[in-house]
Amino acid sequence: MPAAPPDPPAQSDPQPLPRDFASRDALVAFCRDRFPAADAAHPAVSDTPGGRPRALARLGAIDLAQYARTRNALDGGVTRLSPYLHHGVLTLAEVRDVAVDQGQGGARPGKFVQELAWRDFFRRVLAELGTAVEDDLESWKTGLQDDDYAYELPNDLLAGETGVDFVDASVRELYDTGYLHNQMRMKLAAYVIHARRVHWKPAADWFLAHLLDGDLGSNHLSWQWVASTYSHKPYIFNNENLAKVSGGRFTGGAGPLDPGPFAGSYDDVNQRLFG
């Protein structure tokens, strides 16, 4: 006997949302109206378009030889596939298969496959621990305790007006695009946690609200890695390293007279931040 067809729509039935829009602007206007809290949280719209056709186009254009050479540089050949991976628009396995086609496979796979593996790893940790990833997984290795860190994000940070060049530029980019290069995620996190003594948790939540690829696994565990509650030591860097990855765009300073918290050698930075 054939299955019963669905009931004709009744007034109490859930009402589907529209799928056809005349333009992206029309879709954005609909979202603003339907999700006013999101619009109020921050009204920018990213240039990164959603959907599998766009994801496949981006996947088809990746150049992993260039990625291997330049991925650590801010203007390097990163793939920006992470928003699609987060939402399952692309699977890790199919992206890996494309990497293998480009010669990144084998018993010692290339850096790109290793980056995909980080996402697989974080998913495994999240599946194992669940919402526990929202709490410190280990003790701090900074010489400080949980109570030493503020739970409120400073207003100058939220406004992107700290005066520290890479911080303010990164905050603006996060707000406008929903994306940050991994180097800048780590460096901004190190500034927030270690230079401003803000707990990683409210800062991770702040990122999650903006990042198109933000999920509890990759995002919160990366913040814990920088903090040292999911690593052997806190992540730090110095201005020399910042200048190198940014191609000289950032100094790490706050104007000509203030070299900022990451000036000097790594020993200098360690001493300044952790005593």
Partner: protein, 143 residues
């Protein structure tokens, strides 16, 4: 036996493993739905760019789109479609997993990135990578 597929926030893919499995088991006309998880969007303070990106991904799945609490809406949609089975792709996300488990979801595994021999040591990436490295570079189907 009619079925329904739930394309949750981490499965916004017209080639969803769950939808493919549901179609194979219950027929090609098995419907799929996306539900914008409003409680999550509001509690997490998602900004507009995240919502727009979600919406664009959802449109391209070809599924029906809804907005609200997934637990509540899925119960109503299951009744509306006389569906006795609900399919979804397995995810690590704890909220989606809890919602699906409450509804008795038939979880469908996505293609594995790597299948490790035995349990993974998740204390550090380096420990996981020691086991995964020689397998991660093999294409799907040659694990």
């Amino acid at each position: 036996m009619p079925a329904l597929t739930w394309l949750h926030h981490e499965d916004l893919n017209p080639q969803s493993p769950a939808w493919a499995a549901a179609r194979q088991a219950h027929g090609l006309d098995t419907p799929a739905v996306v539900i914008f998880d409003r409680p999550r969007i509001e509690r997490r303070g998602y900004t507009l760019k995240r919502v727009v990106f979600l919406y664009e991904c959802a449109i391209e799945t070809g599924a029906e789109l809804y907005d609200g609490d997934p637990l509540d809406l899925l119960q109503k949609l299951l009744a509306q479609h006389h569906a006795e089975a609900l399919y979804a792709t397995r995810t690590a996300d704890p909220r989606i997993t809890a919602q699906g488990d409450r509804l008795g979801v038939a979880w469908v595994d996505p293609p594995a990135f790597v299948t490790l021999p035995g349990p993974a040591d998740l204390k550090r990436f380096s420990r996981y990578w020691r086991k995964a490295e020689r397998l991660a570079g093999r294409p799907t189907g040659q694990a």
